[in-house]
Symmetry: C2
Subunit: 255 residues, 2 copies
């Protein structure tokens, strides 16, 4: 029993999303699973933490035999509460997702799913975020479950370097159509943001964030590129944001 792996499952779409149930099912094949996830959707919350409000944590039975808790906070809050108030130790692996929607390219920064994995890396825990390029609540997670199983098994049985987590994105294709898994780079793309400007019932303006995603990166080995080619993308993702190759440039500013 002592050698059984302890795996924390979280996400940003909340405990009621189909994707986290799919991921819990996969993770349960590899050890003891505990779920700590938001009690409501937290998409786009990035690396937010709750510092000005109290946090609630409630045990729930939405996951069959699996011990599970809903949390009133963000995905990063869930990871912190899980380690320090639920598990009382660091798990062997954190898996986050399966997100309903792609988290490739710069979306990694906005993504609650990936921020949970980055928080895991900061704690020195092997961590992986999984996302499927399908926003539908009833998305078909079968191909993602297949690839998640391969990646989780490898992660638990290989050296997982410190300071990084993995950002896994799966294209919206049938399993038989997916060509394989590629380790690749975060594409330099951005949202050319537009806002949908409307008037409320009092005639006051409000805005909905919308936008078009612009892929400006011509490199052949980016996540956006390999996803388009029909591969699962895996980007090793840092929490150290230092631009090491720009230190000399700024030193030459002689501030």
């Amino acid at each position: 029993m002592n050698s059984e792996k302890l795996i924390l499952v979280t996400n940003d779409d909340s405990v009621s999303a189909k994707g986290i149930h799919a991921l819990t099912e996969v993770a349960s094949k590899f050890g003891k699973v505990v779920v700590v996830a938001p009690d409501k959707p937290q998409s786009g919350m990035g690396h937010a933490i709750t510092i000005n409000d109290p946090l609630r944590l409630n045990q729930i039975d939405l996951f069959g035999e699996v011990e599970a808790y809903s949390c009133s906070g963000t995905p990063v809050d869930c990871v912190k509460l899980a380690i320090y108030e639920v598990l009382h130790r660091k798990p062997d692996l954190i898996v986050s997702g399966i997100n309903h929607g792609e988290n490739s390219s710069t979306n990694v920064l906005y993504s609650g799913t990936m921020s949970a994995a980055i928080e895991g890396a900061m704690e020195g825990i092997s961590s992986i975020g999984f996302s499927l390029a399908d926003y539908e609540p009833n998305a078909d997670f079968s191909a993602t479950k297949y690839f998640a199983s391969i990646i989780i098994e490898k992660a638990l049985n290989s050296e997982f370097p410190g300071g990084v987590c993995l950002n896994v994105n799966v294209p919206k294709l049938k399993k038989s159509e997916i060509k394989g898994i590629k380790i690749c780079k975060q594409a330099h793309a951005f949202w050319a943001d537009r806002f949908d400007k409307r008037k409320d019932q009092f005639g006051r303006s409000y805005f909905w964030l919308t936008g078009e995603f612009s892929d400006v990166d011509q490199r052949p080995d980016t996540d956006l590129h390999v996803l388009k080619e029909g591969y699962v993308s895996v980007v090793p993702t840092l929490y150290d944001l230092t631009a090491y190759d720009k230190l000399t440039h700024f030193q030459n500013w002689h501030l």
Copy 2:
């Protein structure tokens, strides 16, 4: 007039914080300033964006002659709305802060102040986040204003590389006690998070996030290290999180 620089000022402590008024005063020496900042405190919001709620934007006159808007969203929302709905063009510089409290080390990931600057970098705009290691609402910003002035002037008149922004932290010292400015690296430190567990009026548990910051990084040229020595720290900060030096490691997993 066409050569006048356009500078966007934002923060995460809200339009009513002393720090953003200090920064607006400094920025106004270098061009036309527009303020777009949160209408309420947004500390710890990281790179969160508002996708499930509408956003409000209201012109305010808290900044004297300076055109200013309060926004119902996060710091990153403020940057997006400023570019696409207020300025209708990319400013020459984005400055964020002056934050009431330090954003060194891994705090860069939780910081709304720095996420606004990172969002600027993603848009291809020279961007700088400023933080003072003093959480007091009535903190003394005079030393930070002095160093911000030096850094802003240099940023506007030098090549600012794409893909990075600057994370500037100022120690809580008198200007005469500060030894200078050092370009340095994000320290690998983390919050050993503890939660303060309490009971509400109905006997139900709730948690406040607290913790102790653990500096585990022995390198001499980290932001935490130079701040401790009495310097202003400047970390060139990326939005590309790819762990380039770990690509081969994970390719050798043969997924």
